[in-house]
């Protein structure tokens, strides 16, 4: 297996965009190629496109060839769309990584795109309700907000976590997203503002939830020994873990404790030959405030049930025990499903190169983890990145 480097990429501004699906693709694709020296679309041998629900949000399938056509890419080795709902973008990175590591391709693009704003938003809500078992969970209107609301309710019930502690996650991530020009949300929030925002699904208020978002992004993967052709400061994939246990509610491994994530973290650290202490930046999947709290615990930065206290004590801030979501997370930056993991990766790349504003810069960072969950938090996907 060859060591694989990421040599650059680009992404769109995220949010409610006055642009359609294919225009998001063109915007992100142009930025990606413009940002990388000595790389032409014709050099790309493998194209993986993370897209969660283009067939519902845009009524378009066969989207990887659509992306290829719009960007002048003519893959000769591998082309496919990757779907793993909220982790679709990471699925694209993982396949692109495998293509390059195996020697199947020398230049692979991992791309991600989602156009989620629709003229009738109840159609978008419908799309989000076929993620769990459509006939046995979706039929009960069980989509992400009520599921994570119940996760929060159980965590509050079992461990005494408070709504104020949850709100602090939103405060932190909105703070960092004000320093991220690609982020959907550019305003600070306060605990009071989170608690006073409309109730979506109790106990979750609007600012406990990541937004509906349009966005696209892409990154380029090459063998590490070729990386210097494109940049002096590549970053490397050094490990990963991905665990999937069940899909329907009844078949979850856990509710208020994310066992599959704990397993994936162990696998990722083992394959990367690092310990938790080596991680300087954590881009975690904060689709809801409660998610990030459970993640502090599952990673092992704090004890089970103490995630609320962990944020209260400021530990997940830059300069704390671990910098969690200095990009602004999904809560602050938005969550364009297929593009989310690509945007996380891009931001880690910029962190390593010192290209982010001072207020969210993790000085001297060498190792980072990017995490996505999907479904009812029964699937967790992790990649470990290294500056060296």
């Amino acid at each position: 297996m060859r060591k694989v480097a990421i040599v650059g990429g680009g992404g769109t501004k995220c949010g409610k965009r006055d642009a359609n699906w294919r225009e998001l693709v063109q915007e992100a694709g142009k930025t990606m190629f413009d940002n990388i020296d000595n790389l032409s679309p014709k050099d790309v041998e493998a194209l993986l496109v993370g897209a969660a629900q283009p067939e519902r949000f845009t009524f378009q399938v066969h989207v990887a060839p659509m992306v290829a056509e719009h960007l002048g890419i003519t893959p000769r080795k591998v082309i496919a769309t990757t779907e793993l709902m909220c982790a679709s973008g990471q699925a694209a990175i993982r396949y692109a990584w495998a293509c390059v590591a195996s020697g199947m391709a020398d230049v692979a693009v991992a791309f991600g795109v989602e156009k989620m704003f629709m003229p009738d938003m109840s159609e978008a809500q419908t799309n989000m309700t076929c993620v769990l078992d459509r006939e046995w969970d979706g039929v009960n209107a069980m989509s992400a907000p009520p599921f994570f609301a119940m996760t929060a309710q159980r965590h509050m019930h079992e461990f005494g976590t408070t709504k104020e502690q949850m709100a602090l996650v939103s405060v932190k991530n909105h703070h960092y997203s004000t320093m991220n020009p690609l982020a959907q949300f550019q305003k600070e929030v306060t605990v009071e503002k989170v608690l006073q925002s409309p109730m979506v699904a109790p106990p979750l208020n609007l600012f406990d939830c990541s937004g509906i978002t349009d966005g696209a992004a892409g990154v380029v993967l090459v063998p590490a020994e070729h990386a210097k052709r494109y940049t002096d400061t590549p970053m490397h994939i050094i490990g990963s873990g991905q665990v999937s246990i069940g899909n329907a509610i009844n078949n979850l491994a856990s509710i208020a404790e994310w066992v599959p994530l704990r397993m994936a973290v162990k696998e990722a650290c083992t394959t990367a030959k690092i310990t938790l202490k080596d991680i300087d930046i954590a881009e975690l999947h904060d689709c809801f405030t409660i998610s990030e709290i459970l993640e502090y615990e599952a990673f092992g930065w704090c004890e089970k049930g103490e995630g609320g206290k962990f944020i209260e004590e400021g530990e997940p801030y830059v300069g704390g025990k671990i910098a969690v979501n200095p990009r602004g997370g999904l809560l602050g930056s938005g969550h364009p499903l297929g593009a989310t993991a690509i945007l996380q990766t891009l931001d880690i790349f910029q962190q390593f190169r010192g290209e982010v504003p001072k207020g969210r810069y993790v000085s001297g960072a060498k190792t980072a983890v990017a995490h996505n969950l999907s479904g009812a938090a029964n699937v967790h996907s992790l990649i470990i990145y290294s500056r060296d």
Partner: protein, 154 residues
């Protein structure tokens, strides 16, 4: 555009809701091999499949055991009373076809050794408590398909 006139073409304002967008399963024996679940439900029996080879209780009902891959399964009764494990309330953002029901509660119910999701009727969020007993309720669609919910016991 000015005063230009174009031929008007029609975009229907209303179309019949496609079956795949109404969330409810296709229940009869022509469409599924677990139609027995719905037949039992019509008799007020809440059932699922259990593996006769390894003893695993399966949900949703299946035709192959996901634990040992045996196809030797039997129907077992789960009871009609359960315990509320967690719940929330949809206040907005309902999928197509559910907006008229807002607000409504949904929850996780422990019943017969399973943890399943269900609509919780006869309650608002403020009325419910973790651990509360709920009982089976059966609802029927206009086309005759039926489905289960749970409801608060007064």
């Amino acid at each position: 555009m000015g005063n230009k006139q174009f031929e008007k073409i029609r975009r229907p304002e209303n179309i019949k809701l496609p079956y795949m967008l109404d969330f409810y399963p296709l229940e009869d024996e022509k469409n599924t091999r677990i139609s027995k679940f719905f037949e039992n439900l019509k008799e007020d029996r809440f059932t699922s499949t259990k593996c006769k080879a390894c003893g695993k209780l399966l949900w949703p009902p299946r035709i192959v055991c996901s634990s040992c891959l045996s196809d030797n399964l039997e129907w077992v009764d789960l009871g009609v009373e359960g315990e509320l494990y967690a719940f929330s309330e949809m206040r907005g953002g309902a999928p197509l076809g559910f907006a008229q029901d807002l607000p409504f509660c949904i929850g996780l119910v422990k019943i017969g050794g399973l943890l399943i999701s269900a609509r919780i009727d006869n309650a608002r969020y403020e009325d419910l408590k973790i651990g509360e007993k709920v009982k089976l309720k059966i609802v029927e669609l206009e086309d005759g398909r039926i489905f289960y919910r749970f409801q608060r016991i007064d």
